[in-house]
Subunit: 167 residues, 2 copies
C-alpha cells in the first residue's frame, strides 16, 4: 500500500536515488545535469515550503515539493515538482502525488498551481496534468534544450484551486 | 543626454530611490511591498548576471537587470526587470532599456527573453513590450494580487532573440 506523507531526513537517500537519474538525464527538468547531491537537496528539500514522499513500506517510490511560485503579489500561486522512481512507473503514483499536492496547496492557502516549464516532448506528463485539471496557459518556443531533441518548446500549465472543488 | 552603462556600487542610492516607490506600490512587480533595502539590493544587483543603469549626468533615471530565467536546460532564456524614475517617464527610457537589454542578452549568448509576470492592468507596459517584439506567450488567471484591483491576470511575454536580427 502506498502512503504519501511529509518528507523526513532519513528519506533523503531514497529521494536522491529517484532524483539523480532524472536530473542526470535532463529530459524533463531544468536542473543542471551535473548537479551535485547537496545542491539537489537544497533545491528539493530546503528551498520549498514543504516536501512529501510516496512510500511503500520503507521504500520511497516518489516525491514532490511545493513552494510559492513568486514572492509578494504572486505568492498565492504555488509551484510543484514531482518525481517517481523508474521501477514504480505505471502505477498511478504521479497522479496520486498531483492530487495530494492540490489538496495540500489549498490547505496552505494557495489559490492556484503553476508549472513553469513542462517540456513539450514529455507528452505523458502533459496528458497527466490535463487529466488532473491543468490547462495549457502558455507555450514558450524553444525554451528547453533537450539533450536528444535540441531546442524544444515548453508549456506553462496552470490550475485555479477553487476552495470548494473536490479533487 | 541619456547613457546606459553597467551598474557601479555608487549607483545604489539612485537605483533604490527608483525601486523603492515601485516596490512599495506593488502594482507592477511581485516583490513584497515591505521589502527591505538589503533584500532589494540582493535581488536587483547581486542575484542577476548583470545590472545596468540609465544615467543623465550623475542622475540615475532607470535600471534593468538580466539573468537566466531557469537553470540547466532552460538557461539559454533570460529574464529582465526594468524600472524608470517617476519624474523621467514619457521620455522613452523604458524602450531604450528594453532594446539595450536585448542586445546585451544576445552578446551574453541568450537565445530568448521571457517576462514571467506582466500584470494585465499594466497596459502601457504590455504595449511597450509588444512594440519591442514581445508576444503574449501565455495568460495566468488571477496570478497577481493587485493592491487596488484584487486578483488580476498576468501575462507571460516572450521574444526569441535571433542572432542576425537588428533591434
Amino acid at each position: 500500500m502506498i502512503t504519501i506523507r511529509h518528507y523526513e531526513p532519513d528519506d533523503w537517500a531514497g529521494v536522491w536515488s529517484i532524483l539523480e537519474p532524472v536530473f542526470r538525464a535532463g529530459e524533463t527538468y531544468a536542473y543542471p545535469t551535473d548537479i551535485d547531491e547537496e545542491s539537489a537537496r537544497t533545491q528539493w528539500i530546503e528551498a520549498p515550503a514543504a516536501t512529501f514522499v510516496a512510500v511503500e513500506g520503507a521504500t520511497v517510490l516518489g516525491s514532490y515539493y511545493i513552494k510559492a511560485n513568486q514572492p509578494g503579489q504572486g505568492e498565492h500561486v504555488c509551484n510543484c515538482g514531482y518525481v517517481v522512481a523508474e521501477h514504480a512507473r505505471g502505477r498511478g503514483i504521479a497522479g496520486q502525488l498531483c492530487e495530494h499536492s492540490q489538496r495540500r496547496a489549498r490547505e496552505l492557502g494557495f489559490r492556484a498551481m503553476q508549472y513553469n516549464l513542462v517540456v513539450a516532448t514529455n507528452e505523458g506528463a502533459i496528458r497527466l496534468w490535463q487529466r488532473h485539471g491543468f490547462a495549457e496557459a502558455g507555450r514558450l518556443p524553444g525554451a528547453f534544450r533537450h539533450p536528444r531533441h535540441g531546442f524544444v518548446d515548453a508549456l506553462v500549465m496552470y490550475k485555479p484551486l477553487d476552495a470548494g472543488e473536490q479533487s
